[in-house]
Amino acid sequence: MDQQTTGPAQSEIVDRARAYVRENFLYMRPDWTLGDEDPLLGSGVIDSIGVIELVEFLQGAFRLAIAEEEITEQNLGTLAAIGRFVHEKCHANGSGGSVRPRQVA
């Protein structure tokens, strides 16, 4: 468990991303178990429009800016990758965490 206090814990990022993906991309497959390392693209969970939605969610929820060149499979290809990427960005920027991320319906 990430104990840093300047930004959201990596596990929290993963959980919130998982909840978002389930709610918006896996609503038709409620029995689908989405593991941290399951590919989001290869398994057909998210298409390229979905990636845009996901990026918008991450930007809004964690108060960060994601550049176009950062929209890669390495950064967003799995929940674990999202956790690492967002965590690193929040801490590198010194942003996030001090303000409770807004809730996304």
Binding site: N24, Y27, M28, R29, G44, I49, E53, E68, T72
Partner: protein, 653 residues
């Protein structure tokens, strides 16, 4: 163009006029100008007529002199004058000027060999009393429909499935495998339909029914083998074929108009029509209030250059949703797009303006490699040859220019294509599309999914491919798949014939003149797709004939709003009714919770991707389709377009 229906009995128990009238009434919209039927102890034939050639003399069913051969026919034989002359030289005596009579005497003369001589779009049923058989045939590419069902040794056949149901003898039930094909390819692949026990006669085949047994044979097969080099006179030959194809399709005793999309193909068809028309050419277009879909500037440019009298059907906020139930009723299949709806409205406008025959540009994108799918195939192959290249996949960003720019670039976009399948797979070219489309399956109800068992739509398609398939180029294979999975069963049917004939408009398709198709398919791939420039030879031909804005314009696919058509403004009442959990539960095809999730996203304006748009239209149209065709027996429901058959009704016994 017209509609036909009929029954062939295994035993000589007769066919009632009432039965034939019921079947004909169900497809009255196809032929509002006349009605006729013939019945004897084994065969009943019914026909509704749209008078286009020999308005006075062309009534059907039509027989030869002694009544041994009798036909009901839907379509046009464009080379009928040449065939008529040839048959007259062989001693046949003609009583009318109609193309129908060419079928009667041509069959007498050549039997099944007649079909190879026909240049046209047709579906017909011919009773041959000499052999006590019924002969059914359909044109090479499936421009016109023909369905049949066998019940207790009897054969029921018709231009549309609703006529089979109107007989009261054909079961109304869904075919899960047919539906699964719709949710894979956009349409069930003939002979399959979404209805259990109802078959579509495959394009390019004929069937003979005798003594209760039906045999089907192919008379036309696509050949996608190309030549090494482009013939030196290729453009001259193309010119001849285009002009001849359009000239033949201008043969009619009524004015012929044109649908003008604003793209290259329909512009070519209309330009050649304008040159050959004895009337002021009438052109018709769909315009959209949504500027991303609208092509009116290009349509207007062509209409102005041609000097045509141009009329437009404007599609604003509510039109699609208002007519969508009627569209599904005419299409007789679930749909994945709303694109047929504007064409339904366009045919209504066309008919209201007094035009009942139009030329369209269908078929060109398949044979001249116009679609992005063909470029996508090339780019995928190019990338897979050097999988480590970082710049090659950037070519994907140049595809599908009509999608939002942010959605068609980047790592995820590229990987969608690169990971879609291996070049060794015969379906390589279409795997990204099939993968995207089959996301609709995620919404299946558990029981429906279980009912499908091990059915494998893609596996069956692989099994059906012709022997030489893997010897064709990758683009040849892609074109073949496009023709058999999309052009014939969807574009020419649900989006073509059905929408035009809903209002008694005949759509003629000059790019599917088989001589032109065969010429184009033999050209080297690079003559048609040069680099990423589609329809290269066609553009070369069109320079000087059409405005440069048209000849240089990249292909823009015809699209209509999908999810926004139902959720952007006032939501039609039937949406909530049909997508309600209890209603979905009764229908049993889709999972109510999954659909609820999709509807929630649609209402929130979040369903912007292709996958969710397709899923919503698929689910909504399936529920409309189910309510229309499987909700109650057809005989208890009066089709909106039927009613009395009106004047011209006649019975010949």
């Amino acid at each position: 163009m017209c509609g036909l229906a009929g029954v062939a009995r295994a035993r000589p128990q007769g066919v009632s006029a009432q039965l034939l009238e019921r079947m004909a009434a169900a497809i009255r919209h196809r032929g509002p100008d006349g009605f006729g039927l013939h019945a004897d102890d084994r065969i009943g034939l019914a026909h509704v007529r749209l008078s286009v050639i020999d308005v006075v003399g062309g009534a059907q069913p039509m027989a030869n002199e002694d009544g041994d051969v009798r036909v009901v026919y839907n379509g046009e034989i464009y080379n009928y004058l040449e065939l008529r002359h040839e048959l007259q030289l062989r001693g046949h005596v003609f009583r009318t000027r109609s193309d129908t009579e060419v079928l009667v005497h041509g069959y007498e003369q050549w039997g099944e060999g007649l079909l190879e001589r026909l240049n046209g779009q047709f579906a017909f049923a011919l009773h041959d009393r000499r052999t006590a058989s019924l002969f059914l045939a359909r044109d090479r590419f499936g421009i016109l429909p023909l369905f049949y069902a066998q019940r207790g040794g009897d054969l029921y056949f018709a231009s549309e499935i609703k006529a089979l149901f109107a007989s009261g003898a054909v079961e109304q039930a869904l075919d899960p495998e047919g539906l699964d094909e719709v949710f894979t390819f956009w349409a069930a692949r003939p002979p399959r339909t979404p209805f259990r026990g109802i078959r579509a006669l495959e394009p390019g085949t004929w069937a003979r029914w005798r003594d209760g047994a039906l045999s089907v044979r192919r008379y036309y097969a696509l050949d996608l083998a190309t030549t090494e080099a482009e013939p030196a006179d290729a453009v001259e030959r193309l010119d001849e074929l285009l002009r001849s194809g359009v000239r033949l399709r201008m043969r009619a005793d009524v004015p012929v108009g044109g649908y003008l999309s604003g793209g290259l193909d329909s512009s070519i068809a209309c330009a050649l029509a304008a040159q050959g028309s004895p009337y002021d050419l009438r052109t018709f277009s769909v315009t959209f209030d949504d500027p991303q879909l609208d092509e009116s500037a290009f349509q207007q440019a062509v209409a102005t250059q041609l000097g045509s009298r141009h009329a437009v059907q404007r599609i604003g906020g509510g039109e699609i949703a208002r007519v969508f139930p009627d569209v599904v009723r005419h299409a007789e299949t679930p749909l994945l797009r709303t694109a047929p709806a504007p064409l339904y409205l366009l045919s209504r406008l066309t008919r209201e303006q007094g035009i009942k025959v139009v030329l369209t540009g269908e078929g060109s994108d398949e044979v001249f490699l116009g679609y992005d799918l063909f470029k996508e195939t090339l780019v995928r192959l190019f990338c897979l040859r050097q999988p480590d290249s970082r710049w090659r996949p950037r070519l994907f960003d140049r595809l599908y220019g009509y999608l939002p720019p942010q959605a068609r670039k980047g790592d995820f976009w590229r990987r969608f294509f690169l990971n879609a399948g291996s070049p060794d797979d015969p379906l390589f070219s279409h795997l990204p599309r099939f993968r995207l489309t089959t996301r609709i399956r995620d919404f299946y109800a558990d029981r429906f999914r279980a009912g499908l068992g091990a059915f494998d739509a893609l596996g069956e398609l692989r099994q059906s491919l012709p022997p030489g398939f893997m010897g064709w180029s990758p683009l040849g294979r892609a074109a073949y798949l496009e023709i058999v999975t999309l052009l014939s069963p969807y574009l020419l049917a649900a989006q073509g014939d059905r929408m035009a004939m809903a209002h008694g408009v005949e759509a003629r398709v000059p790019f599917l003149d088989h001589r032109l198709v065969e010429f184009a398919l033999r050209l080297p791939d690079r003559s048609r797709l040069r680099g990423l420039r589609e329809k290269a030879i066609l553009r070369r031909w069109a320079e000087g004939t059409l405005p440069p804005a048209i000849t240089r314009r990249p292909k823009q696919p015809y699209r209509a709003p999908d999810v926004p058509a139902f959720f952007a403004g006032t939501e039609p009442e039937y949406v909530a009714e049909l997508l309600d959990a209890a209603s979905l539960q009764r229908t049993g095809i889709f999972h109510p919770e999954a659909v609820a999730g999709l509807v929630r996203r649609c209402r929130a304006g979040l369903a912007t991707g292709v996958g969710e748009n397709q899923a919503l239209i698929a689910i909504l149209s399936t529920e409309l389709w189910h309510r229309e065709f499987l909700g109650a027996p057809a005989r208890e429901r009066a089709p909106a377009s039927s009613g009395a058959l009106g004047p011209g009704a006649s019975i010949a016994a």
